[in-house]
């Protein structure tokens, strides 16, 4: 089982007090997951690095707006998510992000480990992931990379809980089809 941010003892309080070593620890903890998330959404290395850095700077600048220290991870991902959306808007490519699935959210198993990918499936997995609409891809990445809960994903993406459930369900279903073949 993965250890996620909310269960870790992260020095958020120290960072809040201006301790740069604490910030270094926090940034080190999240730099790769955040980069993975951003890169898989924007598909450009330099843009991803820029967004990660801007997210770190914004986090340091607005740490006062974080209500619960335990939510630092989802809060940081929320900042990065907003920056991705800003980039999309700049590029006038937000149509796909706005798509809403009308179907009622079905129940599903909330276990990222249910997907185990064989070496020969990796390329196919990544290809399919990139074919998903950005909104579904975003939900799936947050689920896979940091094991955020549905509520947290809803908070990060600014979507309704039902919408998040629905997006995750359909994204997983599409992936499962690939992995079962």
């Amino acid at each position: 089982m993965l250890v996620v941010a909310e269960r870790e003892q992260l020095p958020v309080a120290q960072a809040r007090a201006g301790d740069t070593a604490a910030w270094d620890t926090l940034f080190h903890r999240y730099q790769l997951p955040l980069y993975v998330y951003v890169f898989e959404l924007v598909h450009d290395e330099q843009t991803s690095l820029d967004i990660v850095q801007e997210s770190f700077i914004n986090a340091a600048r607005h740490i006062g707006s974080l209500r619960e220290d335990a939510k630092f991870g989802s809060w940081l991902f929320g900042i990065a998510h907003q920056k991705c959306i800003q980039r999309w808007r700049k590029q006038a490519r937000d149509e796909a992000l706005r798509e809403e699935l009308a179907a009622a959210p079905p129940d599903f198993e909330d276990d990222p480990a249910e997907f185990l990918i064989r070496a020969e499936q990796e390329a196919e997995f990544m290809k399919l992931l990139n074919q998903l609409p950005p909104a579904q891809r975003s939900v799936l990445l947050l689920h896979f990379v940091e094991e955020f809960s549905l509520e947290e994903i809803a908070g990060i993406t600014g979507a309704q809980l039902g919408t998040v459930k629905s997006r995750l369900h359909y994204a997983k279903k599409a992936l499962r089809n690939i992995l079962e073949t």
Binding site: D24, F27, Q31, Q53, G64, P112, R118, E122, F144
Partner: protein, 135 residues
Amino acid sequence: MKTPRELFFERHRTAEPKLDTLRQKTIAGLAKAPAVNSRTRPSAPRSSWRDLLWSLRWHLAGLSAAWLVVLVLNIDHSQAPSPVLAKQNIPSPQQLLTALRENRRQVLEMTGARAVAGVLEARPRSEVAAAVKMA
């Protein structure tokens, strides 16, 4: 077999040196500007005040400049002697005459020329004429 997380991390592991550099740069920036890490939470009203002040920055700068000009002018004004004060510093002719007489008397006392002093002393014309008659 890998989990999606493991797969993602493996794919992007090569970006870690760049991320390390980026993190160090960000931390260096934070160290230079420690005020950024304020413990106090910026409330919405404070934020709106900041926005308001920021939007009025040129007006405030103009007003500050105007006040500075007024201050400078006031300082120059106070440094110049006022005409009234200048007038007060000039002694009257009577004071000058008195000072002159006193000065002359002291000189004569010091030189011991008492006899000459009587001649030299300025007297009213009537006294001078009486003295000449008596002589």
